[in-house]
């Protein structure tokens, strides 16, 4: 058992970003709405940058803490609402610093190169992001759905996801019911009219 962690050569975000830009000049430092910094990277530059971040002696990002994403479609005042943000949360066990990379993948042609050759942990994470958000990771050895069945339609965490009515003939709702967020269909009953206001305020 060890008592306390030894000291580490932890670098601040600005230094990490500058060092990353020596390989990928197009990477830009951004912050989220509450001031969390991240590095926005063009998809094409990602593999080379990831390789550098892992192997550079001063950076040594040996771990991919998390790989996830979210749909920007309904995010208020998003610069690029027509994109899926793919997030790479990197961590260095050697130096104990962390860095977030972000790739914006357009919703229609949603492809990002894989990083699974650099961090094998990405093999599973990328399958999950593919399944739930519909991002295709080019070069992934077995990009299949991981949570939903292989014949599932759509990607549930996309903000315009339409819930299916049935799966292999098993209905998801009782007759006459309707998913609130789904667009209305031809045979649907009209939405219930708002109850008339009782005269004179509270009864």
């Amino acid at each position: 058992m060890t008592q306390a962690a030894p000291q580490f050569a932890t670098l601040p975000f600005a230094t990490l970003a500058d060092r990353a830009r020596t390989v990928c000049a197009a990477a830009t430092s951004r912050t989220t709405d509450n001031g969390q910094p991240f590095l926005l990277v063009p998809a094409a530059d990602l593999p080379a940058l990831a390789q550098f971040l892992r192997d550079d002696a001063a950076l040594r990002f040996d771990a991919l803490m998390d790989l996830t994403g979210f749909d920007l479609l309904k995010y208020p005042k998003a610069e690029t609402p027509n994109a899926i943000a793919v997030l790479y949360l990197l961590f260095s066990y050697r130096h104990r610093h962390r860095l977030q990379l972000r790739v914006l993948a357009p919703r229609e042609l949603c492809t990002v190169p894989t990083v699974s050759a650099i961090w094998p942990a990405a093999l599973y994470f990328e399958r999950e992001v593919f399944d739930l958000l519909g991002v295709t990771f080019t070069g992934h050895p077995s990009l299949q759905r991981i949570m939903n069945p292989t014949d599932w339609e759509g990607h549930p965490l996309r903000k315009d996801y339409v819930y299916p009515d049935a799966y292999h003939g098993v209905a998801h709702l009782r007759e006459g019911q309707h998913f609130e967020t789904n667009p209305p269909r031809a045979g649907d009953p009209p939405p219930p009219a708002a109850a008339p206001k009782p005269p004179g305020g509270h009864a």
Partner: protein, 396 residues
């Protein structure tokens, strides 16, 4: 007992394990292609327990996500609650106007319940691993200890499995009157029981040799494949979120971190099944110490004032959660199965925009096909048990 000693015949046979199998700890299906007794390849098949918890998180209000986090990891639900609540508090704290101060008494109670739950979860894990390798008795001893913890939790919050106890800003209820004495009594008897348990199975030469050197994961492999928690530490990586990226009052408690060092002796390797087993038992001892430290630190209750910064148990966050700051936050905590990292995206409304949870079992399942290549068929269940995979955590 080395793989090299046997001669592969080249003839392949496909075996299906699961999805309903007593040794897979949940609904996990593994397709194993074997060459005689040796695993040639192994393909886990996930999704049988997928309940779309991340999607539900986008449809309900911030505090309403907490009961769903119970279902992410029902063996260690207190830590699963805590992980989400700490993440939401971190999100609120990014805006000074919405900063939330968790009362000291609530922080102590959180450490108590988290560590008690870690004890019960690890006892199930080591007991189940022993059972998977053929020793049934230790499992019953482990379950008996878990029942005692569940009794305490039942008195505390009315539930034995999915607690919904930790809330954003504190905990749902204060400790019941003689809870501290009862927890102290449990810890005392647990230490005696641990000595018996170690004599029964940990020091058992048959069990030790059965697990020695099986499916060893090197430190570099463990990091690259994203292993976390006890599985990572068993491979010799000295890292614990409670000590190195502390949350709550863990910084003041000085967590000591056990790491794997080839405990099985001559035949053992760092990061083998036996190391993963022993590291959990060492962590349990540390949890006992942390519980005692939290009990010693526990301030007296401030009766009638739940939001009191010292003796209260629940800060007032109702209004803050209706309009949390817009933005994103990543927060990790140490659950029984390792780092549980929440990535929360808020669009400033009372409903989360995105709730992402990264769990320890997911990455542990990701390394299965890598470590299982070349091991004996009979070791497959021992390996699943040693990684302590809880299937709902993989599928969510």
């Amino acid at each position: 007992m080395t793989v090299e000693a046997t001669t592969p015949s080249g003839e392949r046979m496909t075996l299906n394990m699961g999805p309903q199998h007593p040794a897979t700890h949940g609904v996990l299906r593994i397709v194993v292609e074997s060459d005689g007794e040796i695993v040639a390849s192994c393909t886990p098949d996930h999704g049988y327990l997928h309940r779309s918890i991340e999607k539900i998180g986008e449809c309900v209000e911030w505090p309403m996500v907490v009961p769903y986090t119970d279902r992410v990891d029902y063996v260690c639900a207190m830590n699963a609650n805590l992980a989400y609540c700490v993440a939401v508090e971190k999100l609120l704290n990014t805006d000074p106007a919405a900063a939330v101060q968790v009362p000291l008494r609530a922080e102590c109670i959180r450490v108590l319940v988290a560590e008690l739950n870690r004890i019960s979860s690890h006892m199930v894990a080591v007991g189940a691993m022993a059972m998977d390798t053929g020793a049934v008795t230790p499992f019953l001893h482990g379950i008996a200890q878990r029942e005692l913890v569940n009794d305490i939790f039942e008195k505390l919050c009315g539930q034995r499995l999915t607690y919904n106890y930790v809330t954003v800003g504190g905990v749902a209820f204060d400790l019941y009157p003689d809870a501290a004495a009862e927890i102290a009594r449990f810890l005392d008897q647990f230490e005696i029981e641990m000595r018996r348990f170690n004599k029964l199975i940990t020091a058992n030469a048959i069990f030790r040799d059965r697990c020695a050197g099986v499916a060893a994961v090197s430190a570099a492999e463990a990091i690259a494949w994203g292993l976390v928690g006890p599985n990572l530490r068993a491979s010799g990586v000295d890292y614990d979120v409670r000590r190195d990226d502390p949350y709550g009052i863990y910084e003041r408690l000085q967590v000591r971190v056990p790491v794997g060092q080839g405990f099985a002796g001559r035949r053992g390797k760092v990061g083998d099944c036996y190391d993963r087993f022993v590291v959990r038992l060492l962590e349990v001892q540390e949890s006992v110490r942390l519980c005692r430290a939290a009990l010693a630190m526990l301030p007296p209750p401030a009766d009638g004032k739940p939001a009191d910064p010292v003796g209260g148990f629940q800060a007032d966050v109702k209004k803050l959660l209706l309009r949390p700051p817009k933005g994103e936050v990543h927060c990790r905590t140490e659950s029984a199965r390792g780092e549980m990292g929440y990535y929360l995206v808020s669009d400033g409304t009372k409903v989360p925009y995105r709730v992402r949870v990264r769990t320890g079992s997911f990455s542990a399942a990701g390394i299965f096909h890598h470590v299982m290549r070349g091991i004996f068929l009979a070791d497959v269940v021992a390996v699943i048990g040693s990684f302590d995979v809880v299937v709902p955590e993989i599928d969510r």
